[in-house]
Amino acid sequence: MLQIEDLQVKLGDKEILKHIDLEIHPGETHILFGPNGSGKTSLLMTIMGYPQYRVTGGKISFKGEDLTHMPVDERAKLGIGMSYQRPPTIHGVKTKQMVQICGKGGVNAEALAAKVNFSEFLERDINAGFSGGEIKRSELLQLMAQDADLLLFDEPESGVDLENISLIGNTISELLQRDFKVNSQKTQKERHKERTRMGFIITHTGFILDYVTVDKGQVLYDGVLTCTTHPREIFKCISEVGYEECVRCAI
C-alpha cells in the first residue's frame, strides 16, 4: 500500500503541494486530474524521491516502510517505477541498455520492445530526439522490464498520435493487470482478486480512461487535492464545466 499523510512539499521557496492525503491499496489504480501547473508532476516526483521536491511536512510510506527521506534508488528497489513526462536524454546510453538496467539483466529487451513497436529504437541513445509518442513508448518499455509494484504514469497519453494511443492504453492496462484476456486456468473474477499492482496515472485530458479501468479519481488544483470520487464523474464534470470550477471546491 502507498500511504500519503498530510504531505507538504516545497520547490525552491514555493509551496507546491499542500496537505495531501492519499492511499492506494494493492490492486488499485487511481487517476489524477488537474490543470497545468497544479502540481501533478511534483506529486509523482515527490513519491519517486526527487530531492529538489522538499518535504516540509507529512509522511509517505510504502509497503509499511517510511519513504519520506529514502533515496530514489532505494524506492525503485522497493518496487516503485515511473513513466516520465519529460525524461532526460543521456548521450551514449542506449535504450537497450536502459531496458537491461530496469530488468537487472534478466529480460529480453528485443522481445519487450517488439510489444510496444519500439525495436528500431533499441540502439539509439535514450530519449535523444524522441518524439512525444516515442518517449511514452520508451518509458513503458522500461516499466515493462522493471516489474514494479507501484507504477506512476505522468500523462502517458499526451503527445501520442491516434495510431499509438490504443497501444499505449492497452500496455498500461496490461502492466496494471487490468486487461481481460481469456485464461483457461482462471476466471476473470479470480484474476481480479489476484491483482496486486498499484497504479497512479496522471492525466490532463482523461482520454486514458477509454483504455484503462480505474478505481478512483482525484483532482489536484493548485497543490490541493480537491475531490475524490468516481473517475468518470470527474471526467464529465471537467469536460462540461472546465477546471475553472475546481477553484470553488478548493477553498
Binding site: 543521456i90 551514449g92 522500461q142
Partner: protein
Amino acid sequence: MRDLNEKALEAKEKKAPIGPDIDLDAYESEAVAHEYVEDLRVLSEADKKRMILAGVDTEEKDRSGTFIQKDTVVVHAHSKQEGLEVIPIKDALKKHDWVQDYYWKLVAVDADKYTARAQLDLHNGYVIRALAGSEVIYPVQACMYLEKEGLSQNVHNIIVAEEGSELHIITGCATAAHLRRGLHVGISEFYVKKDAKLSFTMIHHWAEEMMVRARSVGVVEEGGLFLNNYICMRPVKSVQMYPTTHLVGKGAVARFYSLLVGSPVSEMDVGGRIFLKEPDTRAEIISRAITNGGNIIARGDLIGEVPGIKAHLECRGLILKGGAIHAIPELQGKVDGVEMSHEAAVGKIAQEEILYLMSRGLGEDEATATIVRGFLSVDIPGLPPQLKAEIDRAVEQSDKDMM
C-alpha cells in the same frame, strides 16, 4: 641532412607557442642498452602487462605486424603481412632512398625546441608503409615504451598508406610500472595517398610525472580517408599536441576523435587542426574530455579554404571532481560556400540524468559511472573491431579507476 641539422640548431632554444615550457636538459638522453628480441614471448611479464594496457598485444593475436621501441632502442620490428613494411626509421633512412621524400617534409624541423631535439638527438622511431593496393586486414601495433627513469625518448615516425591501400595502426605509449618521470618527444608524419584509407589509434598510458610533446602533420590526397584517434585516460603530468592534417585532394576526408581523462596532476592541451583545401573534402573533430581535477584544454580548428567543403567540430567536456576544461573550438571559413559548424559544451553531470538512472534501480555511483561511460562511448565509423575493442577496454579500465 646538414641542412636539417643547421635549422634544428637554430631552433634549439625555441619555445613552443602553446603548452608549458620544458627544460630539455633536465632529462637524460644517452642510449640505453636493450637487446633485440626475435620472439615477443621472451619479453618480461611486467613489460607485457604494461604494453597490453596501451593496446599492444605481445601474443600478436589479430595483428599484422609489431614495432616496439624500449627507451632509446628498437627491440622488435617486423611485418607479418605482404604489402606491409615495418622498419625502424634509422634503418629506413640508411637503406631506403624513398624515406627522404617523407622525412621532415610535413613537420618543420625548426618548429620548436622539441622538433629540433628529435632531429639533433634522434633515438629511433618507425616507418610503417602499406604498399599500393594492399589491404592490411589486421592492425599493425607499435609501442613506445619507457623504462629508464628521467629519460627523454626522442622518436620520429613516418606512416605511408600508398595509393588504394588500407592500413590500420594502433600505437601504444606506455611506461614501466616503476617509472615516474620522463619525457617523450614524438614526431609523426602521415601520408594518405589517393583513395587510401588510414586509421591511426593512439593510446597513451603514461606515468604521473611524464611530459609529452608530440608534433604531427598529415596529408590526405584525393579520395583518401584519415581517421585519427587519440585516447589518454591515465595520469600524465603534461601532454601538449596539436596534430594538423591537410586535405589536398578532391573528396579527401579526415576525422579526429579524442577521449581525454584528466587526473588531478594532469595538464592536457590537446587539439586537432584540419585544412580543407579542395572541393568535396570533409573534416570532423570530435572530442570528449573528463576531468577529475586536472586541467584540460581541448582545441579544434577547422579551416575551409574552398567552396563545397563540409566540416564539423564537437567538443564536450565533463567536470567530475574539480579541475577545469577549456574548450576552444575554431572555425575559419575563407570563402563563400563552405559548410562549417561546431558545438561545444562543458559542464558537470546533470543531476537529472543521475536521478533518472537511480529511479531505474541503479545506485548513485553506478548511475554516474553509466553516464561517464556513455559520455566516452563515441561511435567511430570505419574503425576495425579489434581497435574498437581496445578503445572500449581503455574506457572500461579508466572508469574502474575513476569510481
